[in-house]
């Protein structure tokens, strides 16, 4: 049985009547740190460590991948650089879902060969339910579209390559 809210409240009430300013509890199942602040309130840091139990298995699962990996910045380089000589990468300004068109079924913002100005919107990246327009950033022509519509693109990953105007 894990630590309930009621347990924490009871521990806190007890602690408040004692001369201690900090409690650090660590078990295999949870960590709980309670600290008295100068203004007389308490802070709480709590971490539940029990691994999720998949339906029917009865045993916790061991993480099979790094849970933070999805939000790590991409390795694809900064704007203005790209693996290919002379091309400028338009990169994801935020980690999110890449869309080539303003809404499902609509025509894409740009196709390969289209001329763009720095302000031309070439894609949308949806992050936390917000639609972020992505401008080309460089005047030129669309040389290649690297990301797939509906694909998750990490921060800084290449979406589109622009061949800049001479």
């Amino acid at each position: 049985m894990e630590l309930t809210n009621e347990d924490v409240a009871d521990i806190l009430a007890l602690l408040d009547s004692l001369p201690y300013d900090e409690l650090d509890l660590r078990t295999d199942r949870f960590r709980l740190t309670l600290r008295r602040t100068p203004t007389d309130g308490w802070t709480q840091e709590r971490q539940d460590l029990v691994d999720p139990v998949p339906l029917g298995s009865g045993t916790p699962v061991t993480p099979d991948h790094d849970i933070s990996v999805m939000s790590e910045p991409g390795q694809s380089g900064e704007p203005g650089q790209s693996g290919e000589a002379g091309l400028v990468a338009v990169v994801a300004p935020l980690p999110g879902t890449f869309y080539r068109s303003p809404r499902p079924g609509a025509a894409p913002f740009v196709e390969v060969g289209d001329a763009v100005t720095a302000d031309t919107v070439v894609a949308i990246v949806e992050t936390m339910k917000l639609m972020n327009s992505v401008p080309a950033g460089t005047p030129g022509r669309v040389a290649r579209i690297d990301a797939e519509n509906g694909q998750f693109t990490p921060l800084g990953s290449t979406l589109i390559l622009i061949e800049p105007d001479p």
């Binding site: 806190l12 602040t37 802070t43 993480p63 939000s71 992050t127 998750f152």
Partner: protein
């Protein structure tokens, strides 16, 4: 508490599928655990190791990270409930919580949908239908009307649309019939903007809700957003008081409080009675909220919409009533009559909630997904379902008032880019509004979240702002406050 007079076909729930994520999943699991009900959580691949996944008795994966492929997939959710042997599905808020198709699919599979019946969801979820029901129940609605669809497309140059807008009077608001959450909404200030706004709102609505229908309503620049919490069992409807949610940015609520400050007892009673009248008219069953737009200067109000689910801001109501609204939802879902009469609902003190979101107010509220490295919150002294006793005892013991934190983040939690940015809700309760503000201010000072950018500092500044502290701000307050902060530099922030 009243004795039960009618014997219904009540069936105790033993196992509930929690078909949601984030803090509301934690919230539902907490009450189920307290009541001895087993929980099975649906989790997308992105949420496999989330806090609710660790707290649920069991977890079932329902699909990839993208919400349309997981949390919004009716077949996957019902399939998960069947596989889990669940008696019921709690849909939380957002996602499928007001989806009539899910309610019908549950009925067909012999699973209880913890929410209103499909008929009520259709009546409330369709904003145009809800307007008609409100009118039928005698509630005032804003001047407005629907826009004819021609061949599935909006005929926005239609002279009838322009005439309708003229009749309503500018500015008008273009609203989506099929949904909420701030999508498909456009303010139009002059006739030249109308056609474009109608097409954009319709496109947004089609993308978000699969329903391109929009309608026009008068846009009130300076109103207050006040809502009334209802509970119904299909026979009887009671209210749990009102809330004020006027601190909003782009229709997203950021601070909520209960009761709504400075209403005057006459207006407050009329609002509550109007909400109950609509609940009775709908034969409402479950927890729900009726939202109103309030013109305090004139002492008038208009119906806005019904939210046929539990709401994000429900804790402020729990704080002043000592109730556990999720527990009441479960009881109603078990087929029991309401456990309370109206006169059993009492109110004590004032409660205010601040939403802590992973957005950067200094960079135009740019979302900030990532990984939490450290999560420090004020120690909680108040929980749903323990009544008002513990909070009062703690206040007496000098712990610093009653604080509650509803969150789904802890050290090493992922904050995926796929879902909304709500990290936590900090709720403070005090003997009166000033007391609640003092508790809230201390509570926010004790929040420290590392790894993602949050709006904690902005919330502290708003809670310290004289205009907010005075109470009763209108929905244009936050935009004005933020603009003033940009102009005035550090002096105000």
């Amino acid at each position: 508490m009243t004795g039960q007079s009618a014997v219904n076909h009540s069936q105790a729930l033993r196992r509930v599928l929690v078909a949601n994520r984030g803090e509301i999943a934690v919230r539902v699991i907490t009450t189920c655990r307290r009541l001895g009900i087993e929980t099975v959580l649906t989790a997308s691949d992105a949420d496999a190791y989330s806090l609710p996944a660790r707290l649920a008795d069991q977890v079932i994966r329902i699909g990839p990270a993208s919400a349309t492929a997981s949390y919004l997939n009716v077949d996957a959710v019902v399939g998960a409930a069947v596989a889990a042997g669940a008696d019921a599905i709690h849909p939380g808020y957002g996602f499928l919580s007001e989806n009539a198709r899910l309610a019908r699919a549950c009925a067909a599979a012999g699973i209880v949908f913890i929410g209103p019946d499909a008929r009520t969801l259709e009546a409330a979820g369709d904003k145009l239908a809800a307007r008609a029901h409100a009118t039928a129940a005698g509630l005032p609605v804003l001047p407005g009307g629907d826009i004819e669809l021609a061949g599935g497309d909006i005929e926005h140059s239609d002279p009838r649309v322009i005439a309708l807008a003229e009749r309503i009077g500018y500015p008008v608001l273009v609203k989506a019939a099929g949904g909420g959450g701030g999508r498909g909404l456009r303010v139009v200030r002059e006739p030249a903007e109308l056609g474009h706004a109608v097409s954009v709102a319709s496109a947004e609505a089609a993308a978000a809700f699969g329903d391109p229908r929009v309608y026009l309503e008068r846009y009130v620049e300076r109103g207050r957003h006040v809502e009334v919490q209802l509970l119904g069992d299909g026979q009887r409807v009671i209210h749990l008081g009102d809330r004020d949610c006027s601190v909003q940015r782009r229709y997203q609520k950021l601070i909520e409080e209960a009761p709504a400050p400075d209403l005057g007892s006459d207006l407050r009673e009329r609002l509550r009675a109007a909400a109950v009248a609509l609940g009775v008219h709908l034969g409402y069953r479950g927890a729900g909220t009726v939202e109103f737009l309030l013109d305090t200067a004139r002492g008038e109000f208009c119906f806005l919409e019904v939210n046929a689910r539990i709401q994000v801001e429900h804790p402020v109501t729990e704080a002043i009533t000592g109730m556990d609204i999720v527990a009441e939802q479960l009881s109603i879902a078990e087929g029991r009559p309401l456990r309370l009469r109206q006169e059993d609902v009492t109110f004590a003190g004032h409660a205010i909630e601040c939403r802590i979101i992973a957005e950067d107010p200094d960079r135009d509220f740019r979302p900030s997904p990532g990984t939490i490295t450290r999560a420090v919150f004020p120690a909680a002294t108040m929980y749903p379902g323990y009544g008002l006793v513990r909070g009062a005892a703690d206040a007496a013991a000098g712990i610093g008032g009653s604080v509650r934190v509803d969150t789904h983040v802890q050290a090493r939690s992922a904050v995926p880019a796929y879902y909304d940015s709500l990290l936590a809700k900090v709720i403070a309760h005090g003997g009166d509004r000033d007391g609640a503000l003092a508790v809230l201010s201390g509570a926010l000072d004790r929040c420290a979240l590392d790894g993602v950018t949050t709006n904690v500092a902005m919330q502290r500044a708003i809670v310290a702002d004289p205009e907010f502290r005075a109470g009763g701000v209108t929905t244009d307050y936050l935009a004005r406050y933020l603009a003033g902060r940009e102009d005035g530099g550090a002096g105000r922030g």
